[in-house]
């Protein structure tokens, strides 16, 4: 079960999943990212502020998406991983690869300069 809100801010595609980003949502979430991250020059921000839980499958989708975006010449960042939700990136050390920002505004700013 995956829910997400997609919007466009200053040419940046902001994708905000809602609820748990877990093993039950990971496949659909990955499919949703496939197109946007495959286009050179695209800028994609994942807004996690409405996400209740990210599990290792959610982390895996974000790691793969990050690498695919880089390979395609797209910019990819994550924002809004506040509170416990963000700790999973620290515990897996994937925060070293991923570009994680506290607020959506910070995430947008980082992509504007990208």
């Amino acid at each position: 079960m995956m829910e997400a809100e997609v919007r466009e801010i200053d040419g940046i595609t902001v994708i905000a999943p809602r609820g748990p980003l877990d093993v039950g949502a990971a496949l659909d979430f990955r499919n949703l990212l496939t197109g946007p991250i495959a286009v050179q020059g695209n800028k994609v921000l994942i807004d996690l502020s409405a996400v209740s839980l990210v599990d290792s499958s959610g982390v895996g989708v974000l790691v793969t998406a990050h690498r695919q975006a880089v390979a395609a010449g797209a910019a990819f960042a994550i924002a809004g991983a506040v509170g416990p939700v963000g700790r999973v990136f620290e515990m897996t050390r994937t925060n070293k690869l991923l570009s994680i920002h506290a607020s959506v505004d910070d995430g947008l700013a980082s992509l504007r300069d990208a």
Partner: protein, 139 residues
Amino acid sequence: MSISATFAIPSRVGAIEDARRWVTGHLQPGGASADALWEIELAMTEALANVIKHAYGGDGSQRIDLALLVEDDRVEIEIVDSGAPFNPASYVPPDLEVASDRGYGVHLIDELMDEVDRQPAGDRGTRLRLVKQGWRNRQ
């Protein structure tokens, strides 16, 4: 305080949310801290995902039994399956220097929980016991 409860879900990833709600429904009224709730929900999610993916190999027609024991200063969750067992001898922990798209589940469970313990259950199958201490907001 002491609460004990049982629950069962089918071996499908969509049912993990039901298991999380069941546990949260027992812990939240008892004053669980946000951190402990998250730790327990995430560890359970990883454990149930592993049962579905690995113990049952994706077969969605199986059953997973859960038992919850809540005490003043500890929460114990038992997850019982009848699938292929986890083999600790062949388990390779993740290399945290290189980000991966998989292989973090067991590591997360170990980090999040205070005790993790696996025993054979039934003819085949595993009883996984997860213990979390100090799960309530300090008063």
